[in-house]
């Protein structure tokens, strides 16, 4: 027998999960599709923005100049810059929906697939405490999703900026709100990947876990909206902002209202006006109270709440992983 100094380490488990993830073709396909989607939708979005000359934001646009009341003072240049950057990342919301879908399904497959194929026996044999194997898969899928989100986001922004610049738009890449939104987009893709792993650990059967993950991320907000309007339940309406996808939109969306407020501190209040941002909606109720139906844009709180979703799902997943027979 050879003298053996090897033992199972967390670093070893991380490396093992990394090898497992990237030794499957599915992984490469799904991540590649996600990146292509980022770039494709960004290109379409930038092309559909048209040229600066014909943009509704351009005060010299003949259509706007000819409009009634055109003599009124046009928007300050700083505010126009904010609106232009909002236009720059218009692709983010639709892409995020689909990217979350693909990346979370990949997370589910990575975890539930082990139970389905029998691989889990090998995994747990090498890591009999199990929860360290779960955590390493969670971290690896999170990091891989973040990397995919980062590549997609940066490429999409570059393509979008390139096309729009070519069409005469003045893009301001130094805008901190832009980078905050892009960071949120990357973060939400990471969330989706990690969330998929946890749903896979909780349900273990792909046929059940995939619809559950998609249901929570994509369908639940619609159901909540329908139910609350149907049954007139205000409390249910108030839960909507806390669903992962709505938190994702808040976390990742470009904070137009906030950026406008910062660009024009002496101007009228943009935040909370209910119309300045499509993301923020403060309803004035009959009794004079205000009801926030969406969290404010780019709020760091949204990021923390997404993390809370992960921590809670992780706690349950650990319990099931530890307790149930493999």
């Amino acid at each position: 027998m050879t003298a053996i100094a090897h033992r199972v380490t967390f670093g070893g488990l991380l490396r093992s999960e990394w090898i497992k993830l990237f030794s499957l073709r599915t992984t490469w396909w799904l991540y590649a599709i996600t990146i292509v989607l980022f770039v494709g939708v960004a290109a379409l979005s930038a092309l559909s923005s048209g040229s600066w000359a014909s943009s509704y934001l351009n005060p010299e646009n003949p259509a706007i100049a000819a409009a009634p009341g055109a003599s009124a003072p046009s928007m300050p240049a700083a505010l126009v810059a904010v609106q232009v950057n909002a236009e720059l990342v218009r692709w983010a919301a639709p892409v995020l929906l689909f990217a979350a879908l693909v990346v979370s399904v990949l997370g589910v497959i990575a975890m539930a697939g082990e139970f389905g194929t029998g691989m889990i026996k090998s995994t747990f044999a090498a890591a009999p405490r199990r929860t360290d194997a779960l955590l390493s898969k969670l971290l690896v899928c999170f990091l891989a999703s973040v990397a995919t989100g980062a590549i997609g986001t940066l490429l999409a922004t570059a393509v979008s900026a390139g096309i729009m610049s070519a069409n005469g738009w003045a893009i301001d890449l130094a805008d901190p709100y832009l980078w905050r939104a892009l960071g949120g987009t990357i973060g939400y893709v990471g969330f989706a990947g990690a969330f998929g792993v946890l749903i896979g650990a909780l349900i273990r059967v792909q046929a059940g876990a995939i619809p559950t993950a998609i249901g929570i991320l994509l369908v639940l907000p619609t159901i909540v909206a329908l139910l609350s309007s149907l049954l007139d339940w205000n409390w249910l309406t108030n839960t909507a902002p806390f669903l992962p996808s709505n938190l994702g939109n808040s976390f990742a969306g470009y904070p137009t209202a906030e950026a406008m407020q910062a660009a024009d501190p002496d101007g009228s209040s943009y935040v909370g006006s209910g119309s300045a941002s499509p993301w923020l909606n403060v309803d004035q109720l009959d009794d004079g109270t205000e009801q926030v139906t969406r969290l404010s844009v780019g709020d760091a709180l949204a990021g923390l709440l997404l993390l809370a979703w992960l921590v809670i799902a992780w706690a349950f997943a650990q319990l099931v992983t530890k307790r149930n027979d493999a």
């Binding site: 199972v8 070893g12 490396r15 691989m119 405490r129 493999a326």
Partner: protein, 315 residues
């Protein structure tokens, strides 16, 4: 050394393993026999912590599997011919397992060579035959050069060359002082490989004896003896250096001697005998006899009069 104490596993109202205790010693190959559904796989899964015992405990070298710091170098496991992802190549599968313990590519290539998988190591394992899958599983079990090997039906699906390979592997690892525990439902296969056999039926241990006892019986050198003074006779026969096992019906099965010698011995000691029968049955028959009341799933009656007379294959 694997030690089970009152190990029990229930799934709902069904008891798969019913309070079994046994010890598997290092340095010998221990076979684990029993019909389908007897609880062999469940027992093996409990040994390595994949299934949690309902009650009782099982330890490997004094510790439960979950407490092992370096499970792959302490215990090598083959529990399922398909314990890998079909989309991953054999090599990547082994690399992923090796990485958990910081074992290098060199060791991965070594076990690929050992298992004869060089030509297919880069192919996706989903396309493997059952036998290739078994080879991959055995390669994975050997990865950490473990002190203990637990192999569930290792020869299932292997070609004759593979069967001999597993047999020699098990014997040489045991000869190095390791603990080797293999299951099978074929007595003839065990006769070639194991030194000691534990037979399980309906979740209970129904025999735990050296293989010699089984083979002696099969080759006709066992003698069935019934006597009103069976316990006393058993003692004196044992003192005379003969192997004696008590049968469930109270008879004695004596090995290492002949019917004539036992008859003379009994006459000298004035012990009345009610039966003195040289037992002539194949190993497989002996095993079937042993487990016939313990079979969970009986086959329907077949229109045949041929008794399965499988003598152990020549080694």
């Amino acid at each position: 050394m694997i030690e089970a104490t009152a190990l029990t596993k229930r799934y709902g109202s069904k008891t798969a393993v019913d309070g079994i205790s046994f010890t598997i010693r290092p340095g010998v190959v221990t076979g684990f026999l029993g019909p389908n559904g007897a609880g062999k796989s469940t027992t093996m899964r409990m040994i390595v912590g994949l299934h949690r015992p309902t009650s009782g405990a099982v330890t490997i070298d004094g510790r439960s599997y979950a407490q092992l710091r370096s499970p792959l170098t302490e215990v090598g496991i083959l529990l399922d011919a398909r314990a890998y992802h079909p989309g991953r190549s054999a090599r990547e599968h082994l690399r992923a397992l090796a990485a958990t313990h910081g074992l290098g590519r060199k060791r991965v290539d070594e076990v690929i060579g050992l298992a004869g998988l060089e030509s297919v190591a880069r192919k996706r394992a989903g396309g493997f035959s059952l036998g290739m899958g078994q080879r991959l599983g055995i390669a994975a079990a050997l990865l950490g050069d473990p002190h203990t090997l637990i192999l569930d039906e290792p020869v299932n699906g292997l070609d004759p060359e593979g069967v001999i390979w597993v047999r020699n592997l098990a014997r040489s690892l045991a000869a190095e002082g390791r603990t080797v525990f293999l299951s099978s439902h074929l007595m003839s296969e065990m006769a070639q490989t194991a030194d000691h056999v534990i037979v399980l039926g309906r979740g209970r241990v129904i025999a735990d004896a050296p293989i010699a006892e089984f083979t002696a019986q099969a080759s006709g050198t066992a003698v069935r003896v019934r006597s009103p003074h069976a316990p006393a006779l058993a003692d004196s026969l044992r003192r005379g250096g003969m192997g004696v096992t008590e049968q469930p019906d109270g008879a004695l099965l004596v090995t290492g001697t002949t019917a004539e010698a036992i008859g003379d011995f009994a006459a000298q000691h004035r012990v009345p005998l009610h039966e003195l029968t040289p037992v002539k049955s194949s190993l497989e028959e002996a095993y079937l006899e042993l487990t016939k009341d313990e079979v969970e799933y009986h086959s329907g009656a077949m229109p045949t009069d041929e008794p399965a007379a499988t003598e152990g294959m020549p080694a």
